[in-house]
């Protein structure tokens, strides 16, 4: 039976060659993302800035947004947003936090209920007061920082410090780009978004660790290989696994994105971007070359950036890696 081979067996792609391009591009994209965050801002949900979220379903046909807008506008509740949410008669009403503490939020909900009357079914009502929203924001930020720190410490134990640092830089860069994506697309930034970010962090590190593991093994085995070649070999060796895994996770996420419903759409879209697009790119083009810049293997034959062709090099690059001495099994 011919099995699907997405990645041929003996790829010898020179990934390291691109590091002179990939680093500047990444740096630029990160700066763009940071600028987006500060100037375009994130679409903070009520979890973090307080307020009221009401999802209604009009009983009689498609919703008349303009009419609803004027009805709610007349209640003098300050800033509010109305948008269609999925089906034609599904409307999402978002009212900003009312001054006057937690009790005032409740009053606002009463007013809206009274104003909309019997024309709508209430699918969902969420009210987050000022005390809870500040807490959630604090917890969310602390959570991200804590996760980064915990993982950094763990990697430090398992690998050398350059690996830990390299992984962190690559993955924080992942998070920065994802936040930029979220700013650009104005997806709702609430607690599920923090969940998405943390999962992206965990999963993308997952990927980096697999490559690092192989690099570490190669460092031990092939003492005379220069760093760029060694890194290339490691990535090529793990390429098949990476592609297959990324495909399976993408398939899962795709199913969630297409069929999981409006309620978790912002979550799955963010995950898709973070895990599939960015995670893959950084593990290969950032996390690995960064090890060279951090000085891993500096004492190797051929030392730092562009080694001259040492006597070993041609054989290593053009032939499959030297294998343990065993008779080849007949095919």
């Amino acid at each position: 039976m011919r099995l699907l081979r997405i990645v041929p067996d003996d790829t010898r792609f020179d990934f390291m060659r691109f590091r002179r391009i990939s680093f500047p591009i990444s740096a630029m994209l990160s700066i763009v993302a940071i600028l987006l965050y500060f100037f375009h801002g994130l679409n903070f949900g009520i979890d973090f800035i307080g307020g009221t979220l009401i999802e209604v379903e009009t009983k009689a046909g498609a919703a008349n947004l303009a009419e609803m807008r004027s009805t709610i506008g007349s209640l003098q509740l300050g800033d509010f947003q109305l948008q269609q949410f999925g089906a034609a008669n599904d409307v999402l009403i978002r009212i900003s936090e009312q001054p006057g503490g937690d009790a005032a939020q409740q009053e606002a909900v009463q007013k809206v209920r009274a104003a909309l009357g019997n024309e709508v079914d209430y699918r969902r009502v969420e009210v987050v007061g000022p005390s809870v929203s500040t807490e959630l924001l604090a917890y969310g930020t602390i959570g991200l920082v804590l996760a980064i720190a915990a993982i950094l410490i763990y990697l430090w134990f398992r690998f050398e410090w350059q690996f830990a640092l390299g992984a962190m830089i690559a993955n924080v860069h992942d998070l920065v780009l994802t936040v930029g994506f979220m700013s650009l697309t104005r997806v709702d930034f609430d607690l599920t978004s923090i969940a998405a970010l943390l999962t992206i962090l965990g999963y993308s590190l997952n990927d980096t660790v697999v490559i690092y593991d192989r690099i570490r093994e190669m460092l031990r085995r092939y003492k005379r290989l220069s760093m760029p070649e060694l890194l290339n070999a490691s990535i090529n060796a793990t390429l098949s696994r990476s592609i297959v895994t990324h495909l399976t996770v993408s398939l899962s996420l795709l199913a969630l994105l297409l069929f999981g419903g409006q309620a978790i759409r912002s979550f799955t879209a963010t995950m898709m971007f973070g895990v599939v697009l960015v995670g893959t790119y950084t593990s290969v083009f950032i996390a690995s070359p960064i090890l060279i810049y951090l000085g891993v293997g500096r004492t190797r034959l051929g030392e730092a950036e562009e080694p001259e062709k040492s006597p070993e090099a041609p054989a290593a690059v053009t032939k499959p890696l030297p294998s343990p001495q065993r008779a080849r099994a007949p095919r």
């Binding site: 039976m1 099995l3 067996d9 003996d10 379903e57 937690d102 009790a103 409740q106 909900v109 209430y122 699918r123 009502v125 969420e126 009210v127 007061g129 809870v132 602390i142 959570g143 996760a147 763990y154 990697l155 398992r158 607690l191 599920t192 969940a195 943390l198 999962t199 962090l201 965990g202 999963y203 590190l205 997952n206 990927d207 660790v209 697999v210 593991d213 060796a237 696994r241 297959v244 895994t245 495909l247 399976t248 996770v249 993408s250 398939l251 996420l253 795709l254 199913a255 969630l256 999981g260 419903g261 309620a263 978790i264 979550f267 995950m271 294998s323 343990p324 065993r326 008779a327 099994a329």
Partner: protein, 530 residues
């Protein structure tokens, strides 16, 4: 790597089977499951976003607890000093303390001695913590009493415990099904009522403190005159139902704490809704004394610092029962009776967070979740078969058992499944496959490098397992942090992700190996069909 003793294999299969069996109760209707023995009844609880219902987070007003404590201390100071016949002036609450000035210097020591008795030692975890409940200082005849922080925290904690009991009673009186009421943090209470669509009545009932007091009306001046000049020190101005002002003594004759029963009813004479109440023996005695001493004078029924009615005492009431009439609707009388029966909250509760999901959205979410899960699983299964053939089949079996085990563990923990939780399971399927992929790709490499079939498989497993452990741990750390900082649906996601990682580690280390080992033993292959 491929060698399993019979015991080990049996052990692994048994563990997997037992865990999967725990998932079984979820497939039977509630009524059937109830007839099973209690250890078999554990099942997954659907989160509110899947079954619809209300989630209310209430906060106990800590400041009110503090103020009441200070008022209590002030009252005690009055009682103690009067008993000791120590003259004093300027008894007042300033900021966080009660201050009192002893008129005669010679009395200071006596006063301090008596007042120190009010302060009690606080116990820490290992016995006396050395702290006292009230810190008392004196300078130049002015004694300051400040409740210590530890004492205040303890009071708040007690207030929350009490509030939980009272909230439980009120919620039960409303006849709501299976509510969850629990403490959250230092000063918050979480109330979750599945199936509740419109929490307005519940919010109203929980929002009222329902502190009922019976006090005398102060007839020394009229309320308007008191407002204009000054309010007598032992009285205060309170509003009535329609905004009119009353001048009421601060001293409480009888309080609602002594009520045994309260029932809604109708006034005999004019048919209006009223609430009739009954005191316990202590309350009845206090009530009898108060009414005997004050025949012909008006007394006020004060609910949450509002005067509901102020009838004149026509005759002493010795039986310990009476009626409260104000301008109630039938529902208001009903609600008031509920509040009085359940008891007064020690401090006001504010609603700081509310999330209500209707049944329509709940069902939609379940459908969407199921749909996505089936499609996702189908895609991954197909892909694995196409890429790894027979071994892909082994991986699929392992992942299927993995998912069953996730449900089993969730059942064992009576965990809550939310929509993000379902997303977590779908994601776990994608990640769990990774472990198998790592193994299989390694096997392929070993085959290319020239190892024989069995050696390649063996080497594949041993080399890959360390990597699998490392990579999954990082995702697990992220899930753990998320569990710690998340609430509600997000926590559900962290739970399923975390459990999914643990079970996928188990299946990768054991089940896949077991299946491959038995296949090798049975087929004795010379090549690896990968």
């Amino acid at each position: 790597m491929l060698f399993f003793t019979r015991w080990k294999a049996a052990g692994i299969l048994l563990t997997a089977l037992v865990v999967c069996l725990f998932a079984v109760p979820n497939f039977f209707p509630e009524s059937t499951v109830r007839t099973w023995p209690s250890w078999a009844q554990r099942h997954i609880v659907l989160g509110l976003d899947l079954q619809g219902g209300s989630h209310l987070l209430l906060e106990v007003d800590a400041n009110a607890v503090r103020k009441e404590r200070l008022q209590g201390i002030a009252d005690e100071v009055l009682r103690v000093l009067r008993q000791a016949r120590v003259p004093f002036t300027g008894r007042a609450i300033h900021g966080n303390s009660v201050e009192v000035r002893i008129t005669r210097d010679s009395d200071i020591e006596t006063a301090l001695g008596k007042l120190r008795e009010l302060s009690q030692p606080l116990s820490g975890i290992l016995g006396s913590s050395g702290q006292r409940s009230i810190n008392i200082t004196e300078s130049g005849g002015l004694i300051t009493l400040t409740p210590s922080d530890a004492a205040v925290t303890e009071r708040i904690r007690q207030a929350v415990d009490q509030s939980i009991q009272i909230v439980e009673r009120r919620v039960n009186e409303l006849g709501l099904v299976e509510p969850t009421i629990q403490r959250e943090g230092l000063d918050r209470i979480l109330v979750q009522v599945p199936g509740l669509q419109d929490p307005s009545r519940l919010k109203e009932i929980l929002g009222k403190t329902a502190k009922l007091d019976f006090r005398m009306v102060d007839q020394s001046t009229s309320p308007e005159q008191a407002l204009a000049s000054h309010v007598p020190p032992d009285s205060e101005i309170l509003d009535g139902e329609k905004g009119q002002k009353y001048l009421i003594e601060k001293r409480v004759l009888v309080s609602g704490a002594d009520l045994i029963d309260a029932q809604p009813g109708f006034d005999q004479r004019n048919g209006e809704p009223i609430v009739s109440f009954r005191f316990n023996s202590i309350g009845a005695r206090k009530f009898a004394e108060a009414t005997q001493q004050n025949v012909g004078k008006p007394f006020a029924i004060v609910l949450d610092n509002k005067v509901i009615s102020a009838p004149v005492i026509r005759e002493p009431i010795l039986g310990g029962s009476g009626e409260i009439s104000g301008s109630f609707t039938v529902e208001q009388a009903n609600d008031l009776a509920i509040l009085l029966r359940a008891g007064a909250l020690p401090a006001p509760l504010t609603i700081v967070e509310e999330r209500t999901v209707g049944p329509g959205l709940g069902q939609d979410s379940i459908n969407a979740g199921e749909h996505a899960a089936y499609v996702g699983a189908a895609l991954v299964v197909f892909f694995m078969l196409v890429t790894y053939g027979l071994f892909g089949l082994f991986a699929n079996i392992a992942v299927a058992i993995n998912v069953a085990m996730i449900f089993g563990v969730l059942s064992m923990l009576n965990a809550t499944l939310t929509l993000p939780g379902i997303a977590g399971i779908v994601l776990t399927v994608g990640i769990a496959v990774d472990s198998n992929v790592l193994i299989y790709e390694r096997i392929r490499e070993e085959v290319r490098a020239g190892r024989s079939a069995i050696n390649a498989i063996d080497a594949g497993f041993s080399r890959a397992l360390a990597t699998i452990l490392d990579s999954n741990i990082t995702t697990f750390i992220a899930a753990a942090v998320l569990f710690y900082i998340g609430t509600g649906p997000v926590r559900g996601f962290a739970v399923t992700l975390g459990i999914g990682i643990l079970t996928s580690l188990f299946t990768a280390f054991t089940l896949t190996r077991l299946i491959v080992a038995y296949w090798v033993r049975l087929w004795r292959p010379r090549t690896v069909p990968i």
